[in-house]
Amino acid sequence: MSKVEFNKETGPREVFCGLTSIVWLHRRMPDAFFLVVGSRTCAHLIQSAAGVMIFAEPRFGTAILEEKDLAGLADAHEELDRVVNDLIARRPEIKTLFLVGSCPSEVIKLDLATVAEKLNKRFLGQVRFVNYSGSGIETTFTQGEDGALKALIPLMESSNEEKLLLVGTLANNVEDRFKKIFRNLGISNIESFPPRQSTELPKIGKNTKVLLTQPYLGDTVRDLKHRGCEIISAPFPLGIEGSTKWFLSAAKAFKISELKVHEIISPLIDRAKLALESHKEILKGKRLFLLPESQLEISLARFLHNECEMDLIEVGTPYLNKDLMQEEINLLPDNTKIVEGQHVEKQLDRVRETNPDLVVCGMGLANPLEAEGISTKWSIEMVFSPIHGIDQAADLAGLFSKPLRRNQILTTKTLVTH
């Protein structure tokens, strides 16, 4: 095990809250609606992150609390009832409605679980209601998906059928690739959670082997364990190394030989290495600073160091679940500095002091750092782009090499002007 340096920091943070994950969750399950019970701030946050205007009518919205809702909780419950009724009348195609708690709804202790229970009875057979919290006082950015998935687990029926369950939202094309590879390995029963239709929830039980695709699903994993599922311990499928180890771990759980795995994925690895070369040329020896946001930072650091030969200055992470991240931490180089939490001002001081070649950060910080002459990559792109798997390794590297390449193009003086 590598000697990684763990630090904790508290203070003002520059991180999205869990509501933001609705942006990809609603796309994953086109028959679901996400109704945030919150404030105008919540509505404004989601529309700012999601580019809502491109939709004729989005499948997410906010029931905005008004002064009269704060006066009496009974009234607030009634009001929410009314909003839900209107919504279902307007969108009869909705099969699952997520009631999503927010900071204000948590603080006034609006009981969304009870509301969901009542609504489930009323709309039995038509719409299912589940609730979870995406509030910023409890969750960061990608943790919202953890809450949403955890909320669905009680709806999943039991089955002792042996299966591989991929847990965590993936881009559809990436998911299809993974399934094909697993089938080639001889694993035929593969399902995904979340599914592509909210009503087609996989059945789970003691012969379900869970393979995580994303590193931010701690609560979901715990509840799946309680339902008897076996959790396969593996790094995450980012980059060639992570993906290879991920496939090998799955294969081991299904008693498939390593040889077989290598036989299937070797050609993929060869061509991925080839594709990675041009990016590596740019990234090699460049110094990287990751600010906390998506919770993918540790896996990205591992990939960018081990496969692209970048030097790691600091790896920020919103929070650290050492159990889930153990396999990743083991792969990090010695003396990697991991910082859990954030004091954004102090962290930016360290960015300026260390003068990195590339900073991975949120959108609020990217242009200000660029203006100081520091190249950046916005972390939100990692959760919207297909980056998982061996075939995507070069694309993933490309996200980081592009800003550096651009910087080179723009600063090289090729035109002689007089």
């Binding site: 203070g11 991180v15 809250c17 105008r40 906010t62 008004e66 006034i108 990217a366």
Partner: protein, 523 residues
Amino acid sequence: MELTLWTYEGPPHVGAMRIASSMKDIHYVLHAPQGDTYADLLFTMIERRGQRPPVTYTTFQARDLGGDTAELVKKNIKEAVERFKPKTLLVGESCTAELIQDQPGALAKGMGFDMPIVNLELPAYSKKENWGASETFYQLTRTLLKEKVSSSEKISPLRWKESGRRPKVNILGPSLLGFRCRDDVIEIQRILSEQGIDTNVVAPLGASPNDIERLIDAEINICLYQEIAGASCEWLKRNFGMEYTNTIPIGIKNTIEFINEVHKKLDLPLTNKEELEHKSKLPWYSKSVDSNYLTGKRVFIFGDGTHSIAAAKIAKEELGFEVVGLGTYSREMARQLRATAKDLNVEALITNNYLEVEDAIKKTAPELVLGTQMERHSAKRLGIPCSVISTPMHVQDVPARYSPQMGWEGANVIFDDWVHPLMMGLEEHLIDMFKHDFEFVDGHQSHLGHTATKSEDFINPEEKKVKNNKEEIIWTESGRSELTKVPFFVRGKVKTNTEKYALLKGIPEISDETLYDAKAYFS
């Protein structure tokens, strides 16, 4: 509780951030949970600002709620003051912090700082962004100037004469995330200086607390955006007697009226009155024969109060359009907009629900939509040309080039921005006319893209029957063929009208003759 899928305005503390970020030497400590920092990206991504907004978020978490969140507030205030050394400190809370009632403003005032502290109380559950910006600017002005209220005499607009210098005015209201504010300020300053009038202070955009203290060195205030500066102008009038202008200089007529109003208030003779008509190309471009086809174009207008009201006047009086719909999301300006709508004999639409706006656009079947970025998207779906005239901001609304809305150059920009989508409409018309010629390349698209040419919707042979009010109306071959000859931009309307007519008259099949009958009936 209000179901909101999209909102024209953010919460009031975002308005406060707009003021803080517009200014220098100010810092805003915002008691807020994790996640509220999303608002930073409005400034850094949409406005492409190279600086972070001067805001410290206390970032309280669930586990802090049982403990001492007030201590957390004080810690953040202390750190922010030490680090950023602001000349004035704004302290406030976002929606969630409002519920836990730590009163950060009062806490800050008890910490023994010697800088002015503005305690912002912005009710997040009843107010919105523009109100928050206006209130913040007002509270800031009041805090920095209140000590001078009693000692100073009423400011006469004629003071410049006594002092033997050029008159000085303040330009109030321009802010970040405001529509083309950056360029409007340049344009208005240019116009004023041509008239021999100096600008004393522009605020909040680019101003420091010291500049706010200097506001009373000017004779009058120019209220450029009532949404932001109305309350402050009124306070300065009440307490210092400073007059302010009401005319928003958008469009030629309003710009001339604005210049007149400024001169009148300052008692400054206007010497170049005749020249003013020729400062912008809009009047001549609008008069030139090429613009004949603009006559009576049906236009639907929706945006903030300031820009919608101005747009209605330009549309009607300067371009010869017919305003078929007018609305705003600015409830604070509803009264004024209603008055304008009444003059135009249309119903005013006051709403924050974009779906209602989209419905109103459908119903009025305009040929041009002037709206926000949201209306641009709605209009695109409906295949109607659109020009954006108002916030909420989009990265496209911060163009690299000089592109004001106000003054002479603003009028030029408006002519181009509103007419070019229609020019393309004419081009589309030509495409329709010539599409049966052999030279015509199938699939030619104008910039409006696929949605604009809706011919398929109407001539699709599969779609022989059109459901309408439960009764089935059949378009015959001749009817469909005649419909395709109608210019695309009125085709939807002709189709609806013909069907309405057929239903009314109990005609089961629509032929080419029915089309002409309907045309005559409705004309």
